[in-house]
């Protein structure tokens, strides 16, 4: 079999020196499914973005269909036969399936008018080619997520894509829907399409993959035929050995006071989980991307309405219907998507840090004591070693790690009783990660209750006192003590489960 794609010695360094990819090789044969496996931050998405021309690589070369290729943006990649399947993003809900499939090249009659009959006929044919049972006349808004995904795949296929990239395609799908997707993938293979399949669900490697490449911390660990490896081997390769947590303060350094601040009650299908939040403790929420961690913490914070998540304070049910109520109660939330939901990009570092606690600096009338504000902000700014040109620099110019520090600094300035960290270490460099870990432990030892959500299981295992594990939107376990270790968490969240 010949190679359709070879990426050689790809290195990508982000501003600030963070090596997202370090000399990675990757290749793809005609008609194969090559699984890209790795934890978050391992470099999977960066590798794809380099391929699609979203990120410019710092070194290495890309050989596409036997010729060296320069791809500088996703459109070029698309024209060269590479398609990425995004989740629900790139379809037009108010158009029909057929119209979506042919959106940029409607069949025309007399050069100006859309040939409706031909449009529907060709769409029907394309769907049939892939054994997909969807009515081409249906409006996309009436389709569920799984069907939309299949429409996207059909679109890519009918455009003549030779390489289709699927990024965590099953994270929001039910089990029968996943089976359907796997069948479509098999059909695609038969038609000679090559697929890069990104996942961190181990079981899927064996279900769809021909070969698997494991990435870890921006480096390639190895490429293996799937029948040469098993789940345990892959797990070991993915995690590797890490020294990251040796510098983090001991869990044992616990606060003296341990007081229940809030109780989270989650109604699962079969069971009701009562999860107390204690001051001085770090409560972990573990689960892969798409497992519903953000939805859960947002529901706690009042940013998302959910009937199955209740909060109890001193025996009384409390409801936060807006985040401002939660903030008044004494909760702070550090969002996962810090650029959009966390930071005010066009405002200064100072304003971003003081915004949540601005009333603390008001002395009389409504006037802010700017001296006091600056003094307090500067203290935290220095303590966290935030690298900005000055306190007045706009946050958008900061590197990822420094942005995250600003977002953390905001809540350090406010000092709520509970702080929720939602994936606080995603996309930031190692030293900053360690700093964030230390901040979290420090906060706990000072009596703050921390809720820490992460898809990096080693973080949960090393930082948390207790943890709950989520899988596909459902809470499946509550672990503490000796059970709280990385391999248990990984097995619970990703490994084989009888029901799947």
């Amino acid at each position: 079999m010949k190679y359709v794609l070879e990426m050689k010695n790809i290195t990508k360094i982000f501003p600030g020196g963070f090596k997202a990819l370090d000399g990675v090789d990757f290749d793809l044969k005609e008609g194969e499914v090559h699984v890209l496996l790795g934890e978050n931050g391992a470099g999977k998405s960066t590798l794809i973005k380099v391929l699609m021309g979203v990120h410019k690589r710092d070194s290495g070369k890309i050989i596409l269909f036997g010729e060296e290729a320069e791809i500088s943006n996703p459109k070029e990649a698309f024209n060269k036969g590479i398609s990425v399947i995004y989740q629900e993003l790139s379809l037009f809900p108010h158009l029909s399936v057929a119209e979506n499939i042919f959106i940029v090249r409607y069949p025309l009659k007399r050069k100006a008018f859309i040939d409706r009959d031909k449009l529907v006929e060709e769409a029907r044919k394309a769907l049939r080619d892939l054994n997909i049972d969807i009515n081409p006349l249906e409006l996309v808004k009436n389709l569920n997520l799984s069907e939309r995904q299949l429409v996207e795949i059909t679109r890519a296929f009918s455009y003549g894509a030779k390489i289709i990239i699927m990024d965590e395609p099953t994270s929001a799908l039910s089990i029968p829907e996943r089976e359907k997707l796997f069948r479509v993938i098999k059909t695609l293979k038969k038609r000679g399409i090559s697929i890069i399949y990104i996942t961190h669900f181990l079981e899927e490697v064996f279900k769809v993959g021909d070969r698997v490449t494991v990435l870890r911390d921006g480096k390639k660990v190895g490429t293996y035929p799937v029948d040469a490896v098993d789940t345990d081997t892959l797990l070991r390769l993915m995690i590797g050995r890490r020294l990251l947590f040796e510098t983090v303060a001991e869990k044992a350094a616990k606060a003296k006071v341990r007081e229940e601040i809030l109780k989270i009650i989650i109604h699962s299908d079969s069971k009701v989980y009562e999860i107390p939040v204690y001051s001085g403790e770090v409560l972990g929420i573990a689960g892969p991307v798409g497992s519903g961690k953000t939805e859960l913490v947002k529901a706690i914070y009042g940013a998302l309405k959910r009937k199955d998540v209740w909060l109890v304070y001193k025996g009384q049910k409390v409801t936060f219907n807006t985040p401002s109520k939660a903030v008044k109660f004494g909760i702070g939330y550090l969002p996962e998507d810090r650029d959009v939901e966390g930071l005010f990009m066009c405002r200064s570092v100072r304003e971003n840090i003081s915004i949540a606690s601005i009333w603390n600096f008001v002395k009389r009338l409504f006037l802010i004591d700017k001296g006091k504000e600056k003094e307090q902000v500067e203290k935290i700014y220095r303590a966290l070693d935030i690298r900005a040109r000055s306190l007045e620099q706009q946050v958008r110019y900061l590197s990822g790690g420094n942005k995250q520090k600003v977002a953390v600094a905001r809540w350090l300035c406010k000092r709520p009783r509970i702080i929720i960290f939602d994936e606080p270490t995603r996309g930031i460099d190692i030293p900053t990660k360690i700093q964030v870990y230390n901040i979290i432990r420090d906060l706990a030892s000072q009596g703050c209750a921390v809720i820490f959500s992460s898809s990096e299981f080693n973080e949960i295992a090393n930082l948390c006192d207790r943890a709950i594990v989520l899988r596909r939107g459902k809470i499946i376990a509550e672990v503490e003590g000796d059970e709280l270790n990385e391999s248990t968490l990984v097995r619970l969240a990703l490994g084989e489960v009888a029901s799947s």
Binding site: T322, S324, A326, G342, L343, F344, E351, I358, F366
Partner: protein
Amino acid sequence: MSEGQKSQISLALEYIGRYSALVAFSIVFAIFIALTPKIIAPYNLLIILHQVTVFAILGAGMTPVIITGRIDLSVGSTLALSSCILGLALIEWKLGLIAAVILAVLAGLAVGLVNGLLIAKLKVPFFLTTVGTMYAVRGLALILMGGVAKSLRDFPQLRYLSAGWIYVIPLPLILIAITYILMDILLNNTPMGRYIYAIGSSFDAAKLVGISIDKYIILAYALSGLTAGIAGVYMSSRVMAASPIIGTLYELYAIAAVALGGTSLFGGEGSVRGTLIGSLTLTIISNGCHLLGISPYLEYVVVGLVIVSMVALDVRIRYLRGEYIEKA
């Protein structure tokens, strides 16, 4: 390009962005001084002051609305309503001048509050809300006056508001100074101001940081209504009449003043100081064209060109800074 050069360029862009209003003003002013030195004659400067006052006052209230990333198209109509309420209060209801002025200003505030409530609480899109109030309020003003303007020459003290002096300082200058100082303090030195910037910078982040967004959107529109009310009183004093048809299209002048002042129409950035400079730029173009004998029709073209080039510059700077703007 080295890291150092890159950061110097980004620094330069930041400064150009920050002082773009001043740059535009200086260029426009310099051009007109070169073309017609009369523009800086003392009597003409006084004319400029009288002309700039309405734009400046409307712009001061429009600024917080635009900083939240929204817009208020109703201020021209609100200005007229305020003028009519002033006239009715003086002529029909026989109120004293001070009471009539207060009532007129409150009428403006009321329109602002209605806008704010519709947008924040009923979630009516801001553009349509203020187009709606633009029509409704203009209609209300016309109904109140039976469709005609009434002279206020029987109330000579009213003239003082626009033509009076305190020692050597003309009253409009004091009016502008007070409005701008208060608005500047509100935006920069109070939590409310911080929240207004935050909302414009990122609606989602503002919500997640615990800001009660509705309250501050209502506040922004209330401020805009309030200044429209003040502008209405000032205009009435200038023309010594209560008129339901004044202020037509003034919302666009106010928006132009804000935009020329370097406040981003995407929200989150800007200042009333900029708006003051922006309204001056706008007035100087209009006054300068007049002095040069350029036809008023061509004057519209010049104003339009300056506004578009200014916004184009803003967009260009954002593009260079790496913020891609996809919506047109």
